[in-house]
C-alpha cells in the first residue's frame, strides 16, 4: 500500500478513535438499543423481546435491518458492553471508505493527476460529515460504506461491459444494514438498468442473467419473508393519509434541500441536533469552489461512462431520504458523501492543471489547517458540552446511583422520552433473560408491529409517567428532567432532592426527589 495513504489512514484513525468512549458525551438511545440487543443475542440468542435471531430488530418499533447488531456481537464480547465497542465499527468502516476511494479512483482512472487520488481520500477523511458519522455507534455509517463498496465493484466491471455479481450481492447485503440502503438498492438497480442497458446487453451478460438473478434472490430471501409482515413497511407509515400533491411537495422540497450548496457547505438543515456538530457544516465551506468546478467538469464528461455513473450515484443518493418523512435528516442521505467528494476532487483535478503548483500547495495547506482547527473546536470542544443532552448524557451517572442504592425504589418519568428504559438497561447491563420474561410468547406477534409500550418495570426501577395522586404517598425516589418535577411541586409535596445530575455546562439534566409519605399524609390530614 502507498505510504501516503497509510499516513492519511493513521491521521484519520486519530480523528475517529480519539476518546471514542466519551466523545460524543453520552450514549444515544439508538446506540444503547443496538448495544443492548447485541448483548442480549450474545447472552441468550434472543433480542430484548425474546425473539430468536431476528430478521429485523424491533427496537422502539423501527424494525431496523439486523446486520449491524450481529456484527457488533464479537466487539461486545471482546470489549464489553460499552459505547466504544459499537463506535469502533463505524470508525473501521470509514477507514475502509478512505481506502476504497483511493483504490478505485486509481483503478477507474477517475482523475488526470495522481495527487488527486490522495486529495480525494484526504478530503473524505477529514470532512466533518464523515468524521461525525465515523464516531457513531449504530448502523448508518457501515450502511453507506458497504453500499459504496458495491457501487465501486459495479463501476469497475461496467467499464468492461460486464455485470459485477459481487457488487450486486454486496449491494443486496447492504439492505440488511440500514433502512436507507433497503430503498436505495432498488432505486439504483432501476436507473442503472435504464441508463446502461445498451452497454450491458451483451451475449455473455444475458447468459449469466438467470444465475445472477438467482443469487440476488437468495440474498433477498430474509427480506422477502419480511415483506409480507407489517414490520417491513414501518417506514412507509408516513404516507398514510397523504395525498399525491403533498407527497410531491415534500419530496421536491426535501430533494432541493439535500442538494442545496447552502446546506451542504453551510448551515445544516437538520433540526435534530444529535445529527450534527455545532457551528460546523457538513463539508467545509471553502470546498464549495472545487465542488462547482467539479460539477462543471462532470457536465462536460456527462456522456462518458464515468461521467454517467457519477451523475447516477450523485442524483439518486438523496432519493430515499427525500421520501422518508417530513423532516430533513442528514443521516438518511449519507450515500451522498462519496459522490460529493469525487465531484470536489474533479474540481481539484482541474484546478491543479490550471494553477501553479506552489500556489495550490500553499492555499490548500492553509485552508486544511484552518479546517482542522474548526473541526477540533466544534467536535472536541463544543459538542461534548453543548450537545450532551441530545446524546442522553446523565444516564450513566443515574445508573450508578441506582446501583449504589439497590434497596430503594425509583420511578423514572418517561413522558418526554420513550427510550429512557433502554439507556438504563444499557448502563445497568441488566440481565436480558430477566427482561425477556416480560415478553413471553412475543415471537408470535413480533413482526406484526404491535403497539410499543415505553413503560417498563425491572430491578428496582419503574419507568413510566409520574402519577402525582399516588406516587407521593409511597416511599420511593421520583426521577425526571427539570420539567417533570418543578421546585414548587417538590416543595408542596415535601420532596427532598437526592439526585442532581448536571450536564458539562452545569445545567441540571436529571433530578431525583425522595418522597416523604408521612409528611404528605400529615399535611393532607391537617387540611381536613
Amino acid at each position: 500500500m502507498d505510504l501516503k495513504i497509510i499516513l492519511i489512514i493513521i491521521f484519520a484513525s486519530f480523528l475517529y478513535f480519539f476518546k471514542i468512549n466519551v466523545i460524543p458525551n453520552g450514549v444515544y438511545s439508538d446506540e444503547a438499543t443496538v448495544g443492548y440487543n447485541a448483548y442480549s443475542i450474545l447472552q441468550t440468542g434472543k433480542d430484548e423481546y425474546g425473539q430468536k435471531f431476528p430478521l429485523a430488530f424491533r427496537f422502539f418499533g423501527a424494525y431496523t435491518p439486523p446486520l449491524f447488531v450481529y456484527i457488533s456481537i464479537p466487539f461486545i464480547k471482546l470489549l464489553g458492553l460499552k459505547v466504544g465497542s459499537l463506535r469502533i465499527i463505524s470508525g473501521l468502516s470509514t477507514i475502509l471508505g478512505i481506502y476504497l476511494i483511493y483504490f478505485y479512483s486509481e483503478k477507474l482512472n477517475l482523475f488526470n493527476s495522481k495527487a488527486s487520488r490522495y486529495l480525494a481520500s484526504f478530503t473524505f477523511a477529514i470532512t466533518p460529515w464523515v468524521v461525525f458519522n465515523a464516531r457513531l455507534g449504530y448502523e448508518v455509517t457501515l450502511g453507506y460504506i458497504i453500499f459504496s463498496l458495491g457501487l465501486f465493484l459495479i463501476w469497475d466491471k461496467l467499464i468492461k461491459n460486464k455485470i459485477s455479481i459481487s457488487g450486486l450481492i454486496i449491494l443486496s447485503l447492504s439492505t440488511y444494514i440500514g433502512h436507507t440502503q433497503r430503498y436505495l438498492f432498488p432505486v439504483f438497480l432501476l436507473f442503472f438498468s435504464l441508463i446502461f442497458y445498451s452497454k450491458l446487453k451483451t451475449k455473455n451478460n444475458l447468459k449469466l442473467l438467470p444465475k445472477n438473478l438467482f443469487l440476488l434472490f437468495i440474498t433477498q430471501i430474509p427480506n422477502i419473508i419480511l415483506l409480507t409482515t407489517p414490520a417491513f413497511w414501518v417506514k412507509n407509515n408516513v404516507y398514510v393519509n397523504t395525498n399525491i400533491y403533498q407527497l410531491f411537495n415534500d419530496f421536491s422540497s426535501q430533494l432541493l434541500t439535500y442538494f442545496s450548496p447552502k446546506y451542504i457547505f453551510g448551515i445544516s438543515p437538520d433540526i435534530n441536533l444529535q445529527h450534527t456538530s455545532p457551528y460546523l457544516p457538513l463539508f467545509y465551506s471553502w470546498l464549495i469552489i472545487p465542488f462547482f468546478v467539479g460539477l462543471y467538469q462532470l457536465y462536460l464528461t456527462r456522456k462518458t461512462l464515468n461521467g454517467k455513473y457519477l451523475w447516477l450515484i450523485f442524483l439518486i443518493s438523496p432519493v430515499p431520504g427525500s421520501l422518508s418523512g417530513h423532516f430533513i435528516s442528514v443521516q438518511r442521505v449519507l450515500s451522498m458523501i462519496i459522490p460529493i467528494v469525487l465531484i470536489i476532487t474533479l474540481g481539484f483535478d482541474l484546478l491543479i492543471t490550471k494553477i501553479r503548483r506552489l500556489y495550490i500547495i500553499f492555499v490548500l495547506s492553509f485552508l486544511t489547517i484552518m479546517s482542522l482547527l474548526f473541526l477540533w473546536r466544534s467536535y472536541f470542544i463544543f459538542l461534548p458540552k453543548e450537545r450532551s443532552v441530545w446524546w442522553n448524557y446523565g444516564f450513566k451517572e443515574l445508573s450508578q446511583e441506582i446501583k449504589n442504592n439497590p434497596t430503594k425504589k425509583y420511578i423514572i418519568d418517561n413522558t418526554r422520552d420513550a427510550s429512557i428504559y433502554m439507556n438504563l438497561l444499557f448502563h445497568l447491563q441488566y440481565s436480558p433473560s430477566l427482561l425477556q420474561k416480560n415478553f413471553l410468547n412475543y415471537e408470535k406477534i413480533y413482526y406484526t408491529n404491535p403497539h410499543f409500550n415505553p413503560n417498563y418495570n425491572f430491578a428496582n426501577i419503574e419507568i413510566r409517567p409520574i402519577y402525582w395522586e399516588k406516587d407521593i404517598y409511597i416511599d420511593q425516589i421520583l426521577v425526571g428532567d427539570s420539567l417533570a418535577i418543578s421546585d414548587s411541586q417538590a416543595k408542596s409535596h415535601f420532596l427532598k432532592k437526592v439526585i442532581d445530575i448536571k450536564d458539562p455546562t452545569g445545567k441540571s439534566l436529571i433530578v431525583g426527589y425522595e418522597t416523604n409519605p408521612l409528611a404528605k399524609y400529615n399535611s393532607k390530614n391537617s387540611k381536613l
Binding site: 421536491s252 422540497s253 447552502k262 446546506y263 457547505f265 448551515i267 462543471y296 462536460l300 482547527l373
Partner: protein, 155 residues
Amino acid sequence: MKYKYYTILFLLYLPFLLIQYFTTKPTKLLEHTEIETVEQIYRMHQYPPYAYRLANIIEARSEFRIFFKLEKNFISSFDISNFFNSYRIFLLPIFLIGYFEIIKKYPKETLFFSFLPIVLLTIIGHQNLYGPISLYPIMLLSIIIGLLKLANKWI
C-alpha cells in the same frame, strides 16, 4: 469579447446591483448584536485552559468575526431551495445546463458576472424583502439558454 461589450454588459447589470445594495439591510461585519455577544462569551467559556489563547483568537478577534459573517453570507447565496422550490424544481436542471453552456462559451465573462453579485451579497448580506435580485439576470439567462439547448436537441 471586446472591451466595449464588457462595459455595456456591466452597465446593464449595474441597476440590479444598485437595487440590491440599496434595498438590503447590510450585515454589520464589525459589530456584534447582543445575542451574538452572549453566544461568544458562552463559547469562550467552553474552551479548556490550555486553549484559552486560541479561544481569544478565534472567538474574540475581529478578523475571525468578520470571516464567519462573510462565510455565512457567501454560502447563503447558493440557496437553490429558495430559487427552485415546489414546481420550479424542473427549472433547476435547465438552469444548470444553460449556465454550464454559457461558461463553456464565455468562461471569463460568465464567471465575472456571476461573482459580481455574489461578492456584493457576501459583503452586504441577504436581509432583503425582494431576495437576491442581483442574481436574477444570470439565472434568467441561464434558464433561457438551457431551454434553447434542450429545444435544439429534441426538436
